[in-house]
Symmetry: C2
Amino acid sequence: MTTAGAVGADGEGPGRRRGRRPAGEDTRAAIVTAARTEFAQRGYEGATLRGIARAAGVDARLVHHYFDGKDDIFVAAMQLPVRPQDIVARVVAGGVDGIGERLLRFFFAVWDTPEGRERIVALLSSVLASEAGARMIKEFLTREIFGRVVAAIGGPDPELRAALAASQMVGLIMMRYVVKLEPLASADPDDFIPVVAPVMQRYLGGEFS
Amino acid sequence: MTTAGAVGADGEGPGRRRGRRPAGEDTRAAIVTAARTEFAQRGYEGATLRGIARAAGVDARLVHHYFDGKDDIFVAAMQLPVRPQDIVARVVAGGVDGIGERLLRFFFAVWDTPEGRERIVALLSSVLASEAGARMIKEFLTREIFGRVVAAIGGPDPELRAALAASQMVGLIMMRYVVKLEPLASADPDDFIPVVAPVMQRYLGGEFS
């Protein structure tokens, strides 16, 4: 194990000297830990890469070395198994046709694992644990997820329809993973996705307007 | 104020001696407090009127004097402003036609108040706070709410469809009251009920099957 003192020098050039990776891992971990506190205290909007670097005691360039941006640090800080913004980008890239079913299939393919469930329940717990937790998640969703969805779906009231689609997703997660209401808790996703997909399609495809 | 010692004698006959009401209020409060612990420890299924009476240090007949049944004590223990089982009974009494819109209208008429929001957020928090909290709520929903809904809607897979309708309701509550995602958080219920009602109707009316 290298010491924390070696961290700053190691991380400044991308990919150099793999043998010193452990120091880089320490730096990255320090940034993630600092980010978790910054997001909790300042919200997603209020936290800055500069502030996270300062709290981690590293140069701001190091933060840019390890992470693509604030959304990337957030995903690491929340220990998400995938970047939700990437899933959304893939889902909306296919256009509005079939967007409801694609969203559900991508989501359950990635999150319906023991690890995925655990992380998403932890996220929901932080939402309910404090106003600050709720604000942090809301700001991330609004900035990084809904912006893309709203832009993709267009039509009348896209913000309201995107929020309603999100409400159906969050409700599914709550009932399946947290409350564990049967038969939804034990059902194969193939049993309920065909029932929920038309709902998501109606919200996102604007078929209610 | 009367003393707790006067409580047992006072509560045994319904409605007698109104001047001694404060003792009755103390008894009722003791039962509610004991019930809250019993439900948290044993779940909704596991808790019994007899066990609640024992924990409250009162005769089981006194519990029957103050409450119609276990579901009634649960509503008091969770400090709900209305009995959800009564709302559901009224909603399903109208039959499957228009059940989606009726459910939404009743729900938001009753719960979309500062007090209602506060209680429902507290309930959701207890769901996420522990496995026991989640189990307690799940058992209450399954026994007292879904049984009525499933019996009323019939059709194929009524349990799954009722669970999906519940997931949409819980998601709405999470997004509007907890995450406070706009524009859903500030919208008038009349703005989103017409969009969500067809979804609820499709789930409960079995139009997906």
